[in-house]
């Protein structure tokens, strides 16, 4: 779903994040409040301007009085909430999640077109992933280079579905979707046709710009040359959903 429009009469709640007293609108999520207050919290599937997916689980936080962990992107703030974003347990889980992403497909940064401009790579550095402790799956996925302007490399896809959501919610084309289950899951264009043969793709490139890794890139780029720009997204999203 597209992000809800801000309501006129929403009450303000007070809460603490990492010991810091804060106030927020009651319709905000924890991650939004963190972003507003420059509290670093990792995320991959969450992107300001797109609907909430809650898939990557990197933004998990601890709430006082609760045993289970909560995804900051899909949990609304509440009065008196006491949130911790950095604990040893969270750091351990986050690092493991990033390692699992690396182990699942072939993310070889050094030869990737998105090297040094990749959210997964940056996150790995921040989470202290100096090596991957989990055995690599070594699965080989096909590439789809049939589109005149763009290229899809499933080997570098982390299934965050940002492409699916931006195409549906912002561009309105819904070219992208997800097919399969578990580790066989793949993003597809139309009914799993080659991207270049898609009848719905408008060639706008929004999916490429929001992709956090080197899975969706421009044709003609060499190693390290793919720099993405997502600044258009919050602006377009607000215009699309303006009352």
């Amino acid at each position: 779903m597209p992000p809800a429009n801000p309501q006129a009469n929403v009450r303000v709640v007070t809460l603490t994040i990492d010991g810091q007293d804060l106030s927020a609108r009651a319709d905000e999520t924890i991650i939004e409040v963190c972003r507003e207050n420059q509290i670093p919290i990792p995320s991959l599937c969450y992107l300001d301007g797109l609907s909430i997916w809650g898939a990557c689980r990197l933004c998990l936080v601890e709430l006082e009085g609760q045993n289970r962990l909560f995804a900051a992107c899909s949990t609304r703030v509440a009065e008196g909430m006491r949130i911790t974003t950095q604990t040893e347990r969270l750091r351990r889980y986050r690092r493991t999640i990033v390692e699992l992403l690396f182990a699942e497909r072939s993310h070889i940064c050094s030869v990737c077109v998105s090297n040094n401009h990749c959210e997964l790579q940056t996150l790995a550095q921040k989470c202290g992933v100096d090596h991957v402790r989990i055995p690599y799956r070594q699965a080989r996925y096909q590439m789809d280079s049939s589109h005149e302007l763009f290229r899809l490399d499933h080997n570098r896809c982390i299934l965050c579905t940002r492409c699916v959501r931006v195409c549906d919610e912002i561009e309105g084309a819904h070219t992208w979707d997800v097919m399969g289950r578990g580790s066989d899951c793949q993003v597809i264009t139309d009914l799993a046709q080659p991207w270049g043969e898609s009848e719905t793709c408008t060639g706008c490139g929004k999916c490429v710009q929001v992709c956090p890794t080197g899975a969706l890139v421009k044709q003609g780029t060499s190693a390290g040359e793919m720099v993405k720009d997502k600044h258009f997204l919050p602006i377009l999203a607000r215009r699309r959903h303006a009352p």
Partner: protein, 475 residues
């Protein structure tokens, strides 16, 4: 009773290898083989990738000469794009190639081979290394390290990093040169040239001491293959293929690089992960040829820079006439090439067009096959790709400089073993000479590894009479 001597691992080379010497009943050498024992698989796992990734992917074959792979791969991509790259981009590519030649040759001469030359073939193996050289000739060791640093610094200045830079791209280079970077590089070159000239002068005094080695280290007749410029001069980046025989006659000349398959055939043997390229017109295994500094200097009419041309003239005086035959003189040729590289970099950096900002041609793939050939420090490097309509690689063939020398290296170790190894009174120094002849070629084995289908692996257990009592094999 016949027996086999195995030298494993061969030390002070790049990569992993072993040498086996088969001795006869009287302890004489009957056969010698050079085995490449590591397997990489680049030609296979690059299939399915976009051709624009090939420079970054194939650069990973090596940490010593990645620039060579980057250049050959990008030239193959230029060929796929069917573009002529801007002249400034070509000059910049030449500079980074020469910088790598400098650092790689410095590594080979100072770090890997100078311990043999300075400390002696029979010296204690525990100190026969760069640290031993540091103790005995600290100034020389320092020169070697500094020369290598100068080469690496120029690579870093141009390419952004010392190893595996991504600055060279299909169609040219990604960024133009700035005046500050040019000045920084120009400042390094005079010191480098002084070191190179000093080392060259010193090595000339050493050469007469190694008459015996020069006479036995791979002197048998082979052909010589290299690129030469359109004028027939020393060339490392582009030009045409030239093949000369041991008497100096040109067998092939002005051959466009994309016709390499007409000249070069590739054979495989089950005892090594390295291919055995040969000159097709003479067949396998007769068509033995050498590549690298020795071949380049033998093939070149001139270097085209002042000091290097003097050194080239002196190089040709090592022998009465004809191409220099002894593989021992690879060392000499390497030092001549370092001088050339430093002089030529200086000339290119002072070129009035070198700061031009048009450094990249843009195009889509316009061919379904691309061939890129460049001179790596160790010799002629060939990259050949085929792609589908979407620009994904369907087939890769890499002929690595070290691979070209494979037949010649096998020939050379046999010659050295026959000259020095006495199976009845085996000494470490004898075997070190067998290793040393391999070091003359400065092989890069991690680059040259290849598997043809499933390599058979065979382990045999022999009893004291040489009878096979157990055999394990993988077909």
């Amino acid at each position: 009773m016949s027996r086999t001597i195995t030298i494993e691992p061969v030390t002070r080379i790049e990569g992993h290898a072993r040498i086996s010497l088969q001795l006869g009943d009287r302890g004489e050498v009957q056969d010698a083989r050079f085995h490449l024992t590591q397997f990489r698989g680049f030609e296979k796992f690059c299939e399915g990738r976009p051709y624009r990734e090939m420079p970054a992917l194939t650069a990973r074959t090596c940490g010593i000469c990645p620039v060579s792979h980057i250049l050959a791969a990008n030239k193959a991509c230029d060929h796929l794009l069917a573009v002529s790259i801007p002249p400034t981009a070509e000059k910049l590519r030449r500079i980074i190639n020469l910088a790598q030649l400098t650092q790689s040759h410095a590594l080979s001469f100072f770090h890997l081979s100078s311990p043999d030359l300075l400390l002696g073939w029979d010296s204690d193996p525990a100190t026969r290394n760069i640290f031993g050289v540091m103790r005995q000739a600290p100034a020389l060791a320092k020169d070697g390290i500094r020369l290598r640093q100068i080469g690496q610094t120029i690579i870093e200045t141009l390419g952004g990093k010392k190893i595996h830079p991504t600055w060279v791209v299909p169609g040219g280079v990604s960024e133009a040169l700035t005046p500050e970077k040019r000045e920084a590089m120009l400042k390094l070159l005079p010191e480098g040239l002084e070191i190179a000239k000093r080392t060259y002068a010193f090595f000339k005094t050493l050469v007469p001491k190694f008459k015996d080695e020069a006479a036995n280290f791979g002197t048998r007749d082979t052909l010589f293959l290299s690129l030469v410029s359109p004028e027939g001069n020393l060339e490392h980046y582009d030009g045409f293929l030239r093949l000369k025989d041991a008497r100096g006659h040109l067998l092939e000349d002005k051959v466009p690089t994309w016709e390499y398959e007409r000249m070069v055939g590739e054979a495989v043997e089950d005892f090594s992960y390295m291919k055995f390229p040969y000159y097709k017109a003479q067949g396998y295994p007769a068509g033995v040829y050498r590549v690298g500094p020795l071949a380049r200097l033998n093939n070149a009419n001139a270097c085209g820079t002042p000091y290097a041309d003097v050194a080239l003239a002196e190089f040709h005086m090592l022998q009465e006439s004809g191409p220099i035959a002894s593989s021992f003189h690879y060392h000499y040729a390497r030092l001549v090439e370092i001088i050339y590289a430093l002089e030529m970099m200086d000339r290119l950096l002072k070129d009035p067009d070198i700061l031009d900002t048009r450094v990249r041609a843009r195009a889509r793939s316009n061919r379904d096959a691309g061939i890129g050939v460049a001179e790596a420090p160790r010799g002629t490097l060939m990259h050949h790709y085929k792609i589908d309509d979407n620009g994904l690689v369907t087939w890769v063939n890499l002929i690595i400089a070290t691979g070209h020398n494979n037949l010649a290296m096998n020939q050379a170790i046999r010659q050295v073993a026959e000259a020095y190894v006495d199976g009845n009174q085996l000494r470490e120094g004898m075997l070190n000479r067998v290793e040393a002849v391999i070091r003359c070629f400065d092989p890069c084995l991690s680059c040259a590894s290849h598997a043809f289908g499933q390599m058979p692996m065979l382990i045999e257990l022999l009893d004291t009479s040489g009878q096979v009592v157990h055999r394990l094999s993988r077909d």
